[in-house]
Symmetry: C3
Subunit: 469 residues, 3 copies
C-alpha cells in the first residue's frame, strides 16, 4: 500500500518546478535523437578503454561484458527502469506528450507539500501514458547513460564474479538503482526540489551524469569489490605494460568517448528548447575539461615514472569528461580547464589510494576514474558556477535569484554583478552525493554479498571445502 | 526500343502515390546529411565484424575488401546506379528539385495504367536533371546502403574468388542489382505500388533496408557461394576461437553498427518532413530490437556451449538491427523486442543450417545474418504493424484506410480501434521477398558462374588440369 | 608598439567583405556543434591510420602522440590561438556575438586601405569579447582542425625528437602557426581579401582546410624532418608488411576519417546560414573524391606490386578527402571524382619521391598524404570551380561577377553561361600556397633546429661526444 504519497492530485501545484519549454518543434527532437545516437559511443568507448587496460586473458571477457551490458540495460530499463525514473515527470514538465506520466510516489505525508517524490510508477514497457513520441524521446535519451552506469561495475568485476551474477547485476542497475536516483535528480524527485523545499540553491544539479552515472557506477563497483572480498595475490601485475595492440584500442576508446560526450550533452529532449543555456559553451567546456585532465594526468605519469603512460592519459581524458558533466552549462571555459586539471590530478592519486593503500582489486580503475571524478564534478559546480546561465533551473529564480534579475545557477566564483550562491548550492550537491553513495553502495553490496553467499551455500554439498571463484 | 512503357506523360496521374512533403526547409536537409554521414559507420561496422570473425590470414584481406567496396560502390552508383533507381522519382514525389527525374521505364503497356515502372533512366553521373541539391541529397542518403549491399557478399567471398572478380561483383551490385530492386521499392516502381494497383495493403514496405540491402546482400552471397562450388575440407575450423585481438574489433564493429543505424533511419530526405511518423519511436525500436536479438543470441550460445560466444553476440546485435529496419516506424516498442528476439534465435539456427546441414562456406555468416534476418524483418512488418503510423504511405489511405480515418500501415496485431491489415500486407511483403530473392540470386549466380567458367577456360591452355581457386 | 595597423576604426568600411548571415537560429547552431563533434573523428582517424602503418615498437608511442596532441592543441588554441586567428573577425562578420572581436593588426599603413590584416589580438582565453555563444561556437568549430594540424607532424616525428620537443611543437602549431595563416584565410586577413584588394578572383579560398590544415601540416612535418637531419640506415624496412592487427586499425581509421569529414564540412557557424551553397553537393563531393582517390591509389598499388596494399588504399581515401576540402562547395560531382583520382595518383608518386628519391624519413607519409594532396586541392579549385555556387564569397560578386549576375566562385571549367575565372583565381590560390608554405616551413624548421642545437649543447658537458637522439 502506498500511503498518501501519490502526487497525482497535485499536478497543477508542481507545474513549472522545472524549466521546460512548452512547445518543441519536431526538428529539435530530431537532433536530440541524433545526438543520443552519437552518445552510444560512450559505452563503446569505455568498453575499449577498460579492455585495453586488461591483461590479455581478461580483455575479451571484459569487452564481452560491455556488449552484454548494452543489451541487458536496454531491456531492464524498458521493462521497469523508465517507469520508476520518469513515471511522474508529467507533474513537473509541461512538454507535450508527457501528460500521462503523473504517478510519483512519496514516502512523506502530503502535508509536507509537493516535491518529495521518491519513485515514479507509470510507463512500464513504455505503455500506459508512455506511448507518445516525447516519452519515446525521453526514454531514448537515457539509454547511453543507463548502459554506461550498468557496465562500469561489470567492466571491473569481470572474472571476479560468475557471469550470470554480473548479468543480473547489470539488470538490477538498469531496472532499479539508476532509475531511483535518476528519479530524484531528473524525474522530478526530492533532490531536484531541494531548492524549492529547503532553499538549497537551485537544488541538486547534475546536468549530464557526473553523479547519476559515474559516481553511481564507481560506488556500485566499490560495493561489488568489497562484497566479493579482497584478493592479496598478484599485486605487482598492474605495473606491467599490456601487449601492443591493447593500448591502441584504449586510445581509440578515449577519443570515441570525447565524441560521444559531445552527443550526450545535446541528447536530452528536456533541455532541447531551454533558452537559458548556451549550447556552444557546453561543447567548449566538455572538450576543455577533457584537455585539462588529459594533460595533467599525462604529465603526472611522465614526472613520476619518467615515461608516457598510455592508460593514464586515456583515463585522464575520461576523468575530465566525467568531472565536467555536472556543471558544463554553468561555468566559464577557463574554469572547465581547472575542473579538468583537478580531475586529472585526482585520478592517479585515486588509483594509488585504491591499488596500493586500500589494496582493492579494481582493474578498470572504476573507483578512481568514475567515482572520484564524478564526485568532484558535483562539488565543482558549487564552486565554479558563475551565475550567467540556468535561470529558472529546477524551478528556482526564473525571474530573479538572490535579488538579481537573470542570475542563474551560482556557486562561489560568480561573475561580477552576481551574488554568491555559496554555501547553499554546495549543501544541495553534498546531499546528492550522500544520497547516491548510500543507495548505490547499499544495493550493490547487498546484491553481490547475497549472491556470493548463496552460491557458496549451493556449492557446499560437494565434498570439497568451498573455494572462491 | 522501349515500347510504350515511358511514363513521362503520366506525371500528374501518379503524383501523390508516395507521401512526400511539398516543401523541405534547408535545415531539415542538413540533419538528413549528418545522419547519412553517421550511417557510414554501418559498412565500417560490418567490415570489423566480419574481419573479427575470420582466421588470422583472412582478416586483413577481408577488411581490405570492405575498404575497396566503399570506393567501388560509390563510383558504380554515381555512374549508373542512381539513374536506374531514381530516374523516375519525379513522377511520384513532389519534393523540390526532383522534377527533372521523370523517365521511368515499364515493361507493360500503358493500358495497364501507371505504377508498373521497373527501371529509371535519367540522372547518369548526377547530370541531366540530377544536378539539384535535392537529387544530391537523395543520392547521398543511399550511399551507406549501397556500400553495405556491395560489401556483404565480398566479406564472405574473400579468397574464394579472385580479387578482380569480387571487385567487378561489387560494381555490378552497386550499379545494377541494388538499383533495380531499389527502383521497385523506393524509386516509384511496381513493388511500392502493389497497394494502389492490386490492393495489397500499403504495397511493399521496407523502411530502411531489411530487404533492399540485407536480404539482397545475403542472397547475392548465397548465389556467389553456390556458383563457386562447395568446399568440403576444413569443416572443423569455425569452432575454434580466433586470436585475442579480433573479438575486440568484432565487438567494436557491432557497437558502431548500432550508432550507424541510428543515423541511417533519419538519413533519407524523402521522409524528412513526413509528419505521419514518430522519429523517436523509430530510434527506440532500433535499439530495442538490437537489444532483444543480442540477448537471445548470447543466451542461446551460453546454454548450448556453456560459455559466452563473442561472435554470436555481436552478430546477434547486427541481426536485430537488420530485422527491425523494415518496420521500425510502424510497430510499438514491445514488438520491436519480439522482432529482435526472433532474429536472435533465427541467427544461430541459420548458421547451423548453413554450416552443418547445407555445408556452405560462409565465413562471415552473410546468409544467416543478413539474408535470414532481412527476410524475417519484411515478414514481421505484416504481423506487427499496429496501424498508428504511416497513413498515406505509398499513396494508400491518406484520408482513411480500411474504413478507419487515420489508420496507417497495418498488419495482424493492430492497436485497438483499427482494422486488421492481414493478410493483404503479408502478400505485398511476400511478393517483395520473392522479387528480391529471384533477381539477386539470378544475377549473382550468373555473374560468378560466368566468370568462374571464363577464368577456367582461360587458364586451360596451361598443361595442368584446371583447379579451383 | 603596433604602429597604425589597428583596424578597429574601420569597422563599417569592411563590414560585408565576407558573406555572413545576419541572424542565425539557435537550432542551426546546434547542428553545427553536432557536426563539429563528429569531426573529432578526424584526429582519431589519422592517429589510427598513422599508428597502423608503423612498425610494432613505434605504433603505441605514435598513438600516444595523437592523444597528447588532442590535449595540447586545445589548450594552446584556447590560451592564445583563437585570439590570434579571430581577434578581428568582428570587422568582417555581422554574426551576432562577434561584435567584440575587432582588433586586427596589419603591418601596412592605413593608407593602403583595409583588408591587409595579418593577426588578431583579442579574445585570449575566450575572455574579453570572446565570451559569447557565437564566439564559443566559432572556437569549437576550429578544434578538430587545429588538433589535426598539430598532430600531423607529431605522428611522423615520433621517436625522431624527444617527447618534450614534440609536445612544445604541438603547442606552437596550435597557439601560433595555425592561427596566423588561419587569420589570413578565415579570420578576415589579407589572403581572403586578395579579391577585394588585388582583383584576384574571390581571393584565396580554402573551404575546409586543404591548405590551412593539411598543406600546413605536411610542410611543418617537412621542416621538422629536415631540421632533425636525414637518416640513411634501415631504408628497406618500409616495404615489409606490418603485423596483422595494425592494418585493420588503419582501415578503421580511414573509414572514420570519411565520417568525420562529413561532420567537418558542416561544422563552421560562419557558413551555417549561407544560402549560396548546396550542403548536399558538399556531402556528395566529399565522398566522391574519397572514392576516386581510394580506387586510383589501390589500383596503382595493385598494378605496380601485384597485390593489394592496405596502407596505400587507406591513405588514398585520406588523400581524396584532403584534396576536396578546399573546393567541395564549388565543383560538380564528376570533377570531385577527378580531383580525388589525381590525389590518388599523386600519393604513391609523392611517397616514392619522398622515400626513395629525397630519402626523407617520413613514416606516416605526412608530406605526400597531407602536403601534396592539400596543395593539389587548393589548385584544383582554380581549375574546376564552375561558377554555380559561392556568389558573394569573400565579399566578391554578391550582385554579379565578371558581368554575370549570380556567378559564384569560378575557375577554368565553368558551367555554360558563366565567364572564365581563370587565371585570376589561380593567382590567389598560388599566393596562398606560397604564404602557407613559407610561414609553416620557416617556423617549423627554426623551432626544431633551435631545440636540436640547444639539446646538443646542453648534453655536451658530459664527457662523451654528442650523439643524435
Amino acid at each position: 500500500m502506498l500511503k498518501s504519497g501519490l502526487l497525482t492530485t497535485v499536478v497543477i501545484a508542481s507545474l513549472g518546478s522545472l524549466t521546460f519549454a512548452t512547445s518543441l518543434p519536431e526538428t529539435d527532437l530530431v537532433w536530440s535523437l541524433l545526438a543520443g545516437g552519437l552518445a552510444f559511443l560512450i559505452p563503446a568507448g569505455f568498453t575499449l578503454l577498460a579492455s585495453g587496460g586488461m591483461s590479455e586473458e581478461k580483455a575479451v571477457p571484459t569487452a564481452m561484458m560491455g556488449l552484454a551490458a548494452t543489451g541487458l540495460a536496454l531491456a531492464g530499463y524498458l521493462a521497469c527502469g523508465f517507469a520508476l525514473q520518469f513515471g511522474g515527470i508529467g507533474l513537473v514538465s509541461d512538454l507535450p506528450g508527457l501528460g500521462g506520466l503523473i504517478w510519483e510516489w512519496s514516502p512523506l505525508d502530503a502535508t509536507w507539500g509537493t516535491g518529495w517524490g521518491a519513485l515514479g510508477l507509470k510507463g512500464f514497457f513504455l505503455q500506459e501514458g508512455a506511448d507518445t513520441p516525447m516519452a519515446y524521446a525521453l526514454f531514448f535519451s537515457q539509454l547511453p547513460l543507463v548502459v554506461t552506469a550498468s557496465l562500469i561495475p561489470l567492466l571491473t568485476l569481470t572474472k571476479r564474479a560468475k557471469a550470470f551474477v554480473l548479468v543480473l547485476g547489470a539488470l538490477l542497475i538498469a531496472a532499479v538503482v539508476y532509475p531511483i536516483v535518476g528519479n530524484w535528480a531528473w524525474g522530478g524527485g526530492w533532490l531536484a526540489n531541494l531548492g524549492l523545499n529547503l532553499e538549497l540553491g537551485h537544488g541538486f544539479i547534475d546536468f549530464a551524469g557526473s553523479g547519476m552515472v559515474h559516481l553511481l557506477g564507481g560506488v556500485t563497483a566499490l560495493g561489488g569489490i568489497l562484497a566479493l572480498g579482497l584478493r592479496s595475490e598478484n599485486r605487482q601485475e598492474p605495473a606491467k605494460m599490456p601487449p601492443v595492440h591493447l593500448p591502441l584500442l584504449a586510445i581509440l576508446g578515449a577519443l570515441l568517448l570525447l565524441i560521444g560526450w559531445l552527443g550526450l550533452v545535446f541528447s536530452s529532449p528536456l533541455y532541447v528548447s531551454n533558452e537559458g543555456l548556451s549550447r556552444a559553451l557546453i561543447a567548449v567546456n566538455v572538450v576543455t575539461a577533457a584537455s585539462g585532465s588529459l594533460l595533467v594526468a599525462m604529465l603526472y605519469a611522465w614526472f613520476t615514472t619518467g615515461g608516457a603512460d598510455v592508460l593514464m592519459a586515456a583515463r585522464g581524458l575520461a576523468a575530465g569528461l566525467i568531472a565536467i558533466s555536472a556543471a558544463c552549462p554553468f561555468v566559464p571555459p577557463w574554469t572547465a580547464l581547472v575542473i579538468g586539471a583537478v580531475a586529472g590530478l585526482l585520478l592517479p592519486l585515486g588509483i594509488y589510494l585504491v591499488e596500493y593503500l586500500l589494496r582493492l582489486d579494481d582493474p578498470a580503475a572504476a573507483i578512481a576514474t568514475h567515482g572520484l571524478s564524478g564526485m568532484w564534478g558535483l562539488l565543482a559546480l558549487a564552486i565554479f558556477a558563475d551565475g550567467r546561465y540556468g535561470a529558472g533551473w529546477n524551478g528556482i529564480g526564473a525571474e530573479e535569484y538572490l535579488g538579481i534579475a537573470g542570475q542563474g545557477v551560482s556557486g562561489y566564483l560568480v561573475a561580477s554583478g552576481f551574488q554568491l550562491g555559496f554555501p547553499n548550492q554546495l549543501f544541495a550537491q553534498l546531499t546528492g552525493i550522500a544520497a547516491i553513495t548510500i543507495v548505490a553502495f547499499a544495493l550493490a553490496w547487498l546484491f553481490f554479498k547475497a549472491l556470493d553467499v548463496l552460491i557458496k551455500a549451493m556449492t557446499k554439498p560437494a565434498l570439497n571445502p568451498p573455494t572462491d571463484g
